[in-house]
């Protein structure tokens, strides 16, 4: 199966729009290929390839809306899809949040498609994973991991004349190394759009090193500690819906950590540490984002947090219209940088009298939306820092922590240069640094390895 070219995608979206009798419509077509190799116990577990097609249409008839989709691009199936969407729309109540679809937009291209990734060869992948497994065997650790690659190409179009074609590739590898006695575990993962930028052996070595360095972990009392979070740990914290905090509607409706008394919001307030810059940039060379944001609006670079101040709340097209604002052109990725000088992780450790270095978090779940609190656990590498040096490995902890307090004024002590990382439980669009924070709240010990 071939991926959709721009011409082919245009033919398909035109065909679907021509089938539509409704007043307004938004259509999308997509083709994809995903492949993976999963290993565990230093042995291949599963490996596969999946091709996919999708088409979907949302129509409005007299302001009433219906949506249908199909995995079959044949004319008969597309017609059945359009008929189904129109059948739903005709019998639905009026969509009170309907905003007419966009007319023609201009998109500034983003370079996120790489042939080398799309054409990944089976033998190359097997050779690379074979080398990862050999690295684990050589170090007498038990390796498990997941190598995956994806490519997608598709387009969206509207009855009002917009058309956007977008294609992208992605490849990633995560490796977990465990010591045979089950007492220590290390994890490392990285991903990129371009397979030539993915250093699989480095990922294996970092994971193995963490497992070996984590042997002989000691238990210490839970409590409030100064911590240094590796970029992976920062990604895990922010991956749990951090950008959702910036939803304007929730804040204005009084049900968000960014709500203020009397129907106001925290927009413009210095709620975060002044060292923090948090922004989205579709054209960042290390982290290309999609060229379009919600509803097909051309994405723009925008700051969510500028020197600690909430600079943007995100307005959907509907909510913007209600509130007489412009719809927000993002975010399409998450980048956290220091507003001032950067500090290396070595320097962060050297200046720490007593503290904890955290590699990664796991199973983070929100506990209180009012203050953006969540609970979760450390996993795969925790170390005690004493007198400027990593002293010994620690057993895991559970934490209960408000994210706004974590990143709040005075709590962020140092920020390193960011690097590209994905969240352990999802979310792939992060460029994040090491963060040293003054107080982090661990609430119980966890024996899990």
């Amino acid at each position: 199966m071939m991926m959709l070219s721009e011409d082919k995608a245009k033919v398909l979206t035109d065909k679907i729009l021509a089938m539509v009798k409704a007043d307004d419509a938004a259509v999308s077509v997509n083709s994809s290929k995903n492949s993976h190799l999963r290993f565990a116990n230093n042995n291949v577990l599963t490996s596969g390839s999946r091709e996919g097609l999708n088409a979907s249409v949302t129509v409005w008839i007299g302001g009433k809306r219906g949506t249908a989709s199909t995995s079959d691009h044949s004319d008969a199936s597309l017609q059945a899809m359009v008929d189904e969407a129109e059948r739903i729309a005709r019998s639905a109540p009026v969509d009170r949040e309907y905003v007419p679809t966009l007319g023609k937009q201009i998109y500034k291209p983003v370079n996120s498609y790489f042939e080398a990734t799309a054409n990944l060869s089976l033998t190359d992948r097997a050779r690379q994973i074979g080398a990862v497994i050999s690295e684990c065997e050589r170090n007498k650790v038990i390796g498990a991991g997941f190598h995956s690659a994806s490519s997608q190409a598709g387009a969206t179009a509207t009855r009002n004349g917009n058309f956007e074609y977008y294609r992208s590739t992605g490849v990633g590898l995560s490796v977990t190394a465990r010591t045979p006695d089950g007492q220590s575990s290390g994890y490392f993962q990285r991903s990129h759009d371009d397979i030539r930028r993915l250093d699989t052996l480095r990922i294996a070595r970092e994971s193995v090193k963490k497992a070996l360095d984590g042997r002989g972990a000691r238990a210490i009392d839970p409590g409030v500690y100064t911590v240094i979070l590796e970029p992976q740990a920062v990604a895990d914290i922010l991956g749990g819906g951090f950008s959702g905090l910036f939803n304007a509607r929730n804040a204005e409706e009084g049900r968000s950590a960014f709500s203020a008394p009397g129907g106001k919001t925290r927009l413009g307030e210095k709620m975060f540490d002044e060292k923090l810059m948090i922004y989205s940039d579709p054209w960042h060379p290390e982290l290309p984002g999609q060229p379009s944001a919600q509803g097909g609006i051309p994405a723009q670079k925008l700051f969510l947090v500028n020197k600690g101040v909430i600079e943007t709340l995100v307005y959907s097209r509907f909510w913007a219209k209600q509130k007489d604002k412009m719809p927000t052109p993002g975010p399409v990725n998450t980048i956290l940088e220091s507003a001032g000088p950067i500090t290396s992780v070595e320097e962060m450790i050297r200046t720490t009298e007593r503290g904890i270095l955290v590699s990664r978090f796991w199973y983070i779940r929100a506990t209180d939306a009012r203050n953006a609190s969540s609970t979760g656990l450390t996993r795969d590498g925790v170390w005690w820092i004493e007198n400027g040096k990593v002293a010994y490995p620690l057993k895991n902890f559970r934490f209960n922590q408000s994210t706004t307090t974590l990143l709040g004024q005075g709590n962020v002590l140092a920020i390193s240069k960011p690097e590209r990382v994905g969240g352990s439980e999802g979310g792939n669009g992060f460029l994040l640094p090491h963060l040293k924070v003054k107080e982090f709240n661990f609430t119980s010990q966890s024996e899990a390895v």
Binding site: V44, A92, L122, G130, S446, A448
Partner: protein
């Protein structure tokens, strides 16, 4: 549970030995879709896949040709946000070549594409067999020819979207009738799986499943104090049809939830400390899921999930030995429970659905297995836990319904409460988090009720409890009887790489557990606020 496998087969329309005329065809819109599915010459496609795989050197092969339909409706307050309908059709071929798995899948249904995709699956297996250290082997399973459909009265795909919208708007209206309720969201999703499986062992199986997943959330906001509280629906998805929306009074549930959301704004914040807990099935099912369902997955114990979902504190050497809970704790794995979301007639490699003990009288006794896992355990058959969430997903070990047996005696929830001096009664699933070996956990809920002197005396808020799996189940000293048994479930249980989503239920009565640490989840969580309870 009192439901034998024989009853199950009888009631569910099981028809062994016949694939020509699917039993679910009945002239409806659903039947038209099923007919379209039936029109595809699946046996011919399967013959092509299995012959191609064999010719290219596969020792075992199977093909799944599946169609999935979903319909979703979402609303807020007095308006509809969206009604959507989707269908997804394709096939996936799995081959075992030289003891290495290969898999490939495509949405294009044709003999040529089946041949091409099968060749790709074999090529993947061969490329990786070079780095395979130990070969995958399968235990045998009987050859089956069968069709089956899940147990439902009214196919939701025969019901107009108007009726679905009206049902949700009635829920919203009921919630909005309570003063102080500002927001209500409600949604329902219906899923139909039409699954065909052919294996090189000679099995040919068709299954037709319906799932229904309604839910709502109500929110009360106090703008002057900048406070808000939500309560979600207590009921969860089930393997039944549209009758789930009509036979139960959801509007009454919404009204109660709305009253509770308003009460929560002024409810007493919990004082951290040790409490006895009485846990309603709408809450307890998720604690079972996380601490029992996942810890007894053999693939986790054998480190197959080490890189993502995690391993297990249970290991094969603890089978039959480890004290998992108190003597009254009995967990059964069961893929035959009516309305259970993981209920099927056969798993995705043709193994018949079964019921077996996982924890018996407090002792951990057995695992969840598939054909390759059973071989590693030295068993001669699988318990039938292989599942793929799509034609395009590699099937892998997934959880059956894992359920807690009720007490033999006729015990009510109030009987359990009457035995508590200082405690909390918890309803509904809230925030939940558990470590990667399924031991240290923290669970919240939807509504919390203070128990004093054997009676419920008022509402609490900001409650979550922390415990460890064996401590928690070891502290259980009371269970409700058969009359209190419910079977809540979850539509989306994530596991595996690439990630897959599985629907699963956990039947249980209310349970009483003693002396569990409860924390207060609100406020700034400043230094020293949390009690060290280790």
């Amino acid at each position: 549970m009192g439901f034998s496998r024989r009853d199950f087969i009888k009631s569910a329309g099981f028809a062994i030995g016949s694939v020509a005329a699917p039993v679910w065809l009945n002239g409806s819109a659903a039947a038209m879709a099923a007919e379209a599915f039936a029109e595809v010459k699946k046996d011919d496609l399967a013959d092509t896949a299995l012959a191609t795989a064999k010719r290219l050197g596969a020792g075992y092969a199977d093909i799944r040709i599946n169609r999935y339909r979903t319909e979703s409706v979402s609303t807020r307050e007095r308006q509809v946000l969206n009604v959507s309908s989707s269908q997804n059709f394709g096939f996936g071929v799995r081959v075992l070549v030289n003891g290495t798995w290969g898999f490939a899948a495509s949405p294009i249904i044709s003999v040529d594409e089946v041949r091409r995709v099968t060749s790709e699956a074999v090529a993947i297996a061969k490329a990786n067999s070079v780095i395979q250290r130990r070969k995958i082997e399968l235990v045998p399973t009987p050859r089956i020819t069968a069709t089956w459909r899940s147990s439902f009265e009214k196919d939701p795909f025969d019901v107009t979207s108007n009726e679905k919208v009206a049902a949700l708007l009635a829920i919203n209206e009921s919630a909005l009738s309570i003063a102080g309720i500002t927001f209500v969201n409600s949604q329902v999703a219906f899923v139909n799986e039409q699954k065909y499986l052919a294996t090189s062992d000679g099995s040919r199986i068709e299954q037709y499943l319906i799932r229904t997943n309604p839910s709502f959330s109500v929110t009360a906001v106090n703008r002057s104090t900048n406070d808000f509280q939500s309560v979600n629906s207590l009921l969860q998805a089930q393997n039944i049809g549209f009758e789930y929306l009509t036979k139960r009074d959801w509007a009454a549930d919404a009204k109660t939830a709305a009253e509770h959301a308003v009460m929560k704004l002024s409810a007493k914040a919990v004082e951290p400390g040790k409490y006895d807990l009485v846990l309603h099935p709408s809450h307890l099912f998720l604690t079972i899921h996380e601490s029992v369902g996942h810890s007894t997955e053999l693939d986790r114990a054998l480190l197959w999930e080490a890189n993502y979902a995690g391993t297990s504190f249970l290991t094969p050497d603890k089978t039959g030995k480890l004290k998992f809970g108190s003597n009254m704790v009995n967990f059964v794995a069961d893929r035959t429970q009516p309305q259970g979301l993981a209920t099927v007639a056969f798993d995705d490699e043709g193994v018949p659905a079964q019921e077996w003990d996982l924890v018996k009288e407090g002792v951990f006794v057995d695992w969840q297995t598939t054909r390759d896992l059973a071989k590693l355990l030295g068993r001669d058959r699988s318990y039938g836990c292989l599942h793929a969430d799509s034609w395009g997903s590699v099937p892998f070990p997934r959880m059956p319904n894992v359920s807690l047996k009720p007490a033999k005696e006729d015990i009510t929830q109030n009987d359990l409460i009457s035995g508590v001096d200082k405690g909390i009664l918890i309803y509904g699933r809230g925030s939940y988090s558990i470590d990667q070996q399924r031991y240290n956990f923290q669970f919240g809920g939807q509504t919390f009720w203070e128990i004093k002197g054997g009676k419920v005396v008022g509402m609490l808020k900001d409650v979550a409890y922390q415990s460890k799996t064996t401590d928690f189940w070891g502290s259980l000293d009371g269970l409700g009887g058969k009359e209190t048994y419910e079977i809540p479930g979850s539509f989306n249980d994530g596991k595996g790489e690439p990630g897959q989503s599985n629907a699963v239920s956990h039947g249980c009565p209310p349970a009483r557990v003693r002396n569990i640490y409860v924390l207060n989840t609100s406020a700034g969580l400043s230094a020293g606020q949390m009690e060290d309870h280790e």
